[in-house]
């Protein structure tokens, strides 16, 4: 798993639950006193062990934890750069949804060895969409749930989200697609957050 993904998990655990929790989780995952480098590649088993240890430590399901991770990635100030990069996807929440088709290509354009699951958006009409998450990262659909929810806040849109498919119960063994049903109730529900093209995340 790419270091950026692992580093994102580390950042989430540390900034949300504190550095002590991170140490406890890495100890439980038998990694010792451990920190990820964002630009190195790690064995998938390391990420898997870490997530399992973290979920066990929190006593929460994998889906819930990964959804929180997704929310964290677009709402916490320490990862503001990522929110900005996602906002380049478009002016409105609908534009943003359509830009998800290119998300893995966009990621690879910036970091050639970062391979995210392919995303496929379908318009079902009447403000309903389905987003299918390809294989590669079991549970990625739950991360996308958090991202979609937080980005809706960011755009000021009101949406309903439902996660279908495997991993709903927290298992990580099935490689079948995860599907998210998105219902856009109102695209201009709240003011949302500003996005200045020329600004830079600090």
């Amino acid at each position: 798993m790419h270091g950026l993904v692992n580093r994102a998990i580390q950042s989430f655990v540390t900034n949300t639950y504190g550095p002590d929790r991170w140490r406890r989780v890495t100890e439980a995952a038998e990694l010792g006193d451990f920190e990820f480098e964002a630009m190195l590649i790690y064995d998938d088993a390391v990420t898997e062990a870490l997530l399992a240890a973290f979920c066990a430590d929190l006593g929460r399901s994998r889906g819930e934890v990964l959804e929180d991770l997704g929310t964290y990635l677009v709402s916490h100030p320490s990862v503001e750069a990522l929110r900005r990069l996602l906002r380049f996807g478009g002016d409105s929440y609908v534009d943003f949804l359509h830009s998800l088709d290119d998300l893995n290509d966009r990621a690879r354009l910036a970091v050639p060895d970062l391979h995210l699951p392919a995303l496929d958006l379908r318009e079902e009409g009447a403000g309903r969409y389905t987003l299918a998450c390809g294989p590669g990262m079991p549970g990625f659909g739950w991360v996308m749930m958090g991202i979609l929810r937080a980005m809706a806040d960011d755009y000021g849109a009101l949406v309903l989200l439902e996660h279908h498919g495997p991993h709903a119960a927290g298992g990580a063994d099935d490689e079948a697609d995860e599907v998210i049903a998105v219902t856009l109730i109102e695209s201009a529900f709240a003011a949302g957050r500003a996005f200045d093209l020329g600004a830079r995340a600090g």
Binding site: E37, M39, A81, R84, L85, R106, A110, L197, G198, R200
Partner: protein, 350 residues
């Protein structure tokens, strides 16, 4: 021919930075994004060449000259900010259409004019370019941090290393550790301090590559002539120390030292050219200096080496047995009895 209003409407969406000009170069219509760059100055009615400086083509007599060439334009606003734009001019009946674009000045322009994605055509790659610049900056930032951490780790690893990278021998740090262990161990041992003769000449006349080659050959010989349990270290540019485990017999040590000098004197070839060196050796067996610490024994070996150097090159000397920790007066240290630590031996010739 379609009406000008229709044409302007189409262009406003497809090319939001276009100008429609008449054949004398007076602006008739302007795209919304281009007008946004000068909100206080309506562009229609102004002359194109009054508003912009031409950087390409340079030599133009009048506006009509622009219509005869290939039509590629480079322009910049005459007033500040002097944003540079690239463009294309295409003649129309009774005038021309000019489409402008930021080119590489896009990054500054977005900031200077607070542009949003709505200011660009849906097909424009401007937003993708901005995305890429920002993504690359973030990635470069991560790489920069990684490089700094790796550099710090490398320095600390080097500081903790025990190996001399050039020769593969132990380094001074490793030798200090070995000597510290000797102090605690109580086993007899000997310290042999070896300094190369004429090494500087090899370096000066044949270059550092030859010098490095010689040092590697010396290291090989020292390892070949010693036992597995002995410690061979390079402790300075052309200085080596061997710590012999459980060996203090003078005749044996003498034979080893003589064989070393003998082998080191055989010319070593570097790229077909002979490098002639030799060695001076000082030896201090621990049993002859019962009250001396390992560090003290090293100093005694160094003093013996100093004697050997003064006796002429390619010589070996044993340290004079002393009953107790001596005052470190160098034999030739001077009339005023000034004491100098043996590390001040650096002034001697190679």
């Amino acid at each position: 021919m379609i009406a000008e209003d229709t044409l302007a409407g189409i262009l406003a969406r497809l090319c939001p930075m276009h100008l429609l000009v008449d054949d004398s170069g007076v602006i008739r219509r302007v795209g919304p994004t281009l007008q946004k760059l000068r909100p206080e100055t309506p562009m229609p009615g102004q002359r194109f060449l009054d508003l912009f400086d031409l950087t390409r083509p340079r030599k133009v007599g009048c506006f009509a000259d622009l219509l005869t060439g290939e039509g590629k334009l480079g322009v910049a606003f005459r007033d500040a900010p002097h944003t540079a734009l690239k463009g294309q001019i295409v003649p129309l009946p009774g005038g021309a259409v000019i489409d402008l674009s930021f080119g590489i000045s896009l990054i500054d322009a977005v900031r200077d004019y607070a542009l949003t994605s709505a200011d660009f055509a849906a097909t424009s790659l401007a937003i993708e370019l901005l995305y890429l610049v920002e993504a690359k900056s973030a990635v470069m930032g991560e790489y920069g941090q990684l490089s700094r951490r790796l550099q710090t780790a490398r320095i600390s690893a080097e500081e903790q290393a025990f190996t001399d990278t050039l020769t593969g021998l132990k380094n001074r740090r490793a030798m200090d550790h070995v000597l510290t262990r000797k102090a605690a161990g109580g086993m007899p041992y000997s310290v042999m301090h070896i300094d190369l003769d004429f090494f500087k000449q090899v370096n000066d006349t044949l270059g550092h590559a030859a010098g490095d080659h010689v040092l590697q050959q010396v290291a090989r010989i020292l390892v070949e002539e010693t036992r597995q349990e002995d410690t061979v270290a390079r402790v300075g540019g052309d200085e080596f120390v061997i710590v012999f485990d459980n060996l203090t017999d003078r005749p044996r040590l003498r034979r080893i030292a003589e064989r070393l000098i003998d082998r080191l004197q055989q010319p070593m070839l570097f790229q077909g050219r002979p490098c002639a060196i030799s060695a001076s050796i000082g030896i201090a067996p621990s049993v002859e200096q019962p009250l001396v610490s390992p560090a003290g024994l090293l100093r005694l070996a160094d003093l013996a080496l100093y004697d050997a150097k003064h006796a002429g090159r390619s010589t070996l000397r044993f340290a004079t047995p002393r009953p107790a920790e001596p005052a470190w007066t160098r034999p030739a240290a001077g009339k005023d009895g000034e004491t100098a630590p043996p590390s001040a031996v650096s002034g001697r010739e190679s």
